[in-house]
């Protein structure tokens, strides 16, 4: 038996066979020419490859459940059979004697480059063309299609890391668990796993050396992967299944064993999410991501349209708190009417609240829409701006929100500058919400998308915990200066880690917001500790020399975690 250890990012224990994601298609060598094939035969082969890819995509579009997914598949199918694309590739085959995969690669790249040169919304379509290019080249080379493989029996999917586009082809009914050799706790793989509730381990070095078909045991809480699972592993899986009730049932009351209330809220991004969250017992919404209203749009949606969308979400939370985050776009989440995709360093660029300087008006109209949606429903609406670095930004945002008629303005604390000046910021706004994913990447100066930096990109880093403490202390200072009650919440993934949730409460955080699946496990663990214990554990964590030590020290003290398989 071999044991590999990575970072567990979503709890769960399963046993299954490994199936790996196909390698990304690599560019056929420049000047790769026909060998023993007649050009006419090569052109015919290209055409039948295109027809096969197109037919497969069309078939999948017909069986796709979601309309958005079906539309994407349909438009990809259309591009795969594009006459001009195939004609240009055929010309390179007959004229220059290029091999069909090279000819197709060049012809498709030409179109992708043209789209990029057009900029804005069109530039985003370049990725679609590159996806088609990868499919056609795979088909011609007899390689597996890009994307999640299809199997009849559920399996453990392994990859170096998953990209956002892979999520469209991932069927949660067919995948038992995700294991990646790269990626970090904030990678797309981790976020996807938590959303789907799939057990997942990231940064599991060595998993790439295991052959497809290897039977493994995966523990998404401890980050362990064991080959040749036996009775012991089967019992662990059974224990996990038995304790399901304690992990999945949330009675809608976040509370410590001594009665201290810690409201548990949900992160939501669509009206459907909001219904799921309400059904899961969420005590409100701690983070409403409004990007769903804007993404994939060429133009800013009208105020009326926004009101309709926000109202659809607020209706699920009548009488409860809903924290609406204003648009968080940037070069990494581009919107043609708002962002510049050419920034060299998107994480440090014009994003979040900063876009109000570069393109004024969009934020004011969004605030107007949020205020109108609040009037139309009974939800208690709070509003906050992302990517705040200075007190004056917080003050400006508060003024804009109040001018729109919104009574409770706040800001996200994602930058170290906001954390250390929280006392000043909280003179102007009513609350702060810690976005621990970004706060970690900025505090540790480590790109959250880079698997090789996963160790740095860990919210257990004592430096990140200290940033959180600064923020809480800032709130207390503002309160002592007469500012009134100042709520400090956490809405990053850290809140969904039951052990870290205890530490956050111990540091003085008032509310935790997470994906709905995190609510029950977090509630179960919080209920096992009192405030004094939580404080002691926070102190213990913050004094450790590393993230691993901090996590290990706290986990050892929380025996309830092992009981619940968390």
């Amino acid at each position: 038996m071999q044991t590999l250890t990575g970072v567990g990012v979503c709890a769960g224990r399963v046993i299954g066979e490994l199936v790996s994601m196909p390698e990304p298609v690599s560019e056929p060598a420049a000047g790769l020419t026909l060998r023993d094939e007649e050009p006419e035969a090569a052109v015919a082969r290209l055409q039948s490859a295109a027809a096969a890819v197109k037919a497969e995509l069309k078939r999948r579009a017909e069986v796709a459940v979601e309309k958005d997914a079906a539309d994407v598949l349909k438009s990809t199918a259309l591009m795969a059979g594009d006459k001009a694309l195939l004609k240009n590739a055929a010309k390179l085959i007959t004229g220059k004697g290029l091999a069909p995969e090279r000819a197709l690669w060049e012809a498709a790249s030409d179109y992708a480059d043209q789209m990029r040169a057009l900029g804005g919304y069109m530039a985003e379509r370049a990725a679609d063309i590159e996806d088609v290019r990868a499919r056609l080249v795979s088909q011609l080379q007899g390689l597996p299609m890009p994307g999640v493989p299809h199997r009849d029996v559920p399996f453990v999917l392994t990859a170096e890391d998953l990209a956002p586009a892979d999520t469209a082809t991932l069927d949660p009914e067919l995948v038992l668990a995700l294991v990646t050799s790269g990626g970090g706790p904030q990678s797309h793989t981790a976020i996807l796993a938590r959303n789907l509730g799939l057990p997942a381990v990231v940064a599991a070095r060595g998993v790439e050396a295991l052959a497809d078909g290897t039977r493994v045991f995966v523990d998404g809480a401890t980050g362990e992967i064991r080959t040749e699972p036996g009775e012991e592993e089967e019992e662990l899986v059974e224990a996990w299944v038995r304790s399901a009730a304690a992990r999945t049932a949330f009675d809608g009351q976040g509370v410590l064993s001594d009665g201290t209330e810690v409201p548990l809220l949900a992160n939501v991004g669509t009206p459907e999410d909001a219904r799921t969250a309400a059904a899961a017992g969420a005590q409100g919404v701690g983070l409403l991501r409004t990007e769903f209203c804007f993404l994939g749009r060429d133009k800013e949606p009208s105020v009326e349209e926004q009101v309709e969308q926000y109202t659809a979400i607020l209706e699920s939370f009548a009488g409860k708190k809903v924290v609406v985050r204003t648009l968080d776009a940037g070069a990494d989440k581009p919107l043609p009417f708002l962002t510049d995709t050419a920034e060299p360093n998107p994480a440090l660029g014009v994003r979040g609240f900063r876009t109000d300087r570069s393109v004024p008006g969009v934020l004011a109209r969004q605030l107007e829409a949020i205020a109108l949606a609040e009037e139309a429903t009974d939800a208690d609406v709070w509003v906050m701006a992302p990517m705040i670095a200075t007190t004056s930004e917080a003050r400006d945002f508060a003024a804009m929100a109040r001018a729109a008629g919104l009574r409770v303005p706040g800001v996200m604390v994602e930058t170290p500058s906001a954390a250390v000046t929280a006392d000043q910021i909280l003179r102007h706004v009513e609350f702060v919400s810690l976005g621990t994913n970004d706060l970690t990447q900025y505090t540790m100066a480590a790109d959250r998308m880079m698997g090789s930096l996963a160790e740095l990109n860990n919210p257990w880093q004592p430096a990140v915990l200290r940033m959180i403490r600064y923020t809480v202390e800032g709130a207390l200072r503002a309160e002592s200066e007469g500012a009134g009650r100042r709520n400090v919440g956490v809405c990053g993934e850290a809140a969904a880690d039951p052990a870290l949730a205890v530490v956050l409460v111990g540091l003085g955080v008032h509310t935790l917001s997470m994906s709905p699946r995190g609510l029950a496990p977090v509630a179960a663990v919080l209920r096992s500790v009192d405030l004094a214990t939580a404080r002691a554990l926070a102190e213990l964590a913050i004094e450790q020399p590393s993230a691993e030590d901090a996590s290990a020290a706290v986990r050892t003290e929380l025996s309830v975690l092992a009981e619940l398989g968390l």
Binding site: K74, L78, M79, D82, K83, K87, Y111, M115, M122, R125
Partner: protein, 92 residues
């Protein structure tokens, strides 16, 4: 040779959904139908049934394009295609 000039009505221009609708319609005729930006030479015109060619035109709302086709039924085909271009598919 039949020829028509059409003004793009779609508020987002001739790409994505509007381009797909148009390319599919143009592909249904057994004719070589071409499209070019107004003022472009005829030999630089592109295949109207290619969604990639249409998108690479980069035609925005209000831009004029020229459709050309030859053969039986060309006039009817172009009349129908002009109608598609002059409809705002994003307003549906």
């Amino acid at each position: 040779m039949a020829e028509r000039t059409a003004t793009i009505a779609s508020s987002v221009g001739l790409h994505a959904r509007p381009a797909a609708i148009f390319a599919e319609a143009a592909g249904e005729y057994d004719l070589e139908i071409t499209i070019a930006a107004e003022g472009e030479p005829e030999d630089e015109a592109m295949d109207a049934s290619s969604v990639l060619s249409l998108m690479s035109l980069g035609a925005g709302q209000g831009d004029k394009v020229v459709l050309r086709a030859e053969g039986a039924g060309a006039d009817d085909a172009l009349d129908h295609l002009v109608q598609i271009l002059e409809t705002d598919h994003d307003a549906e």
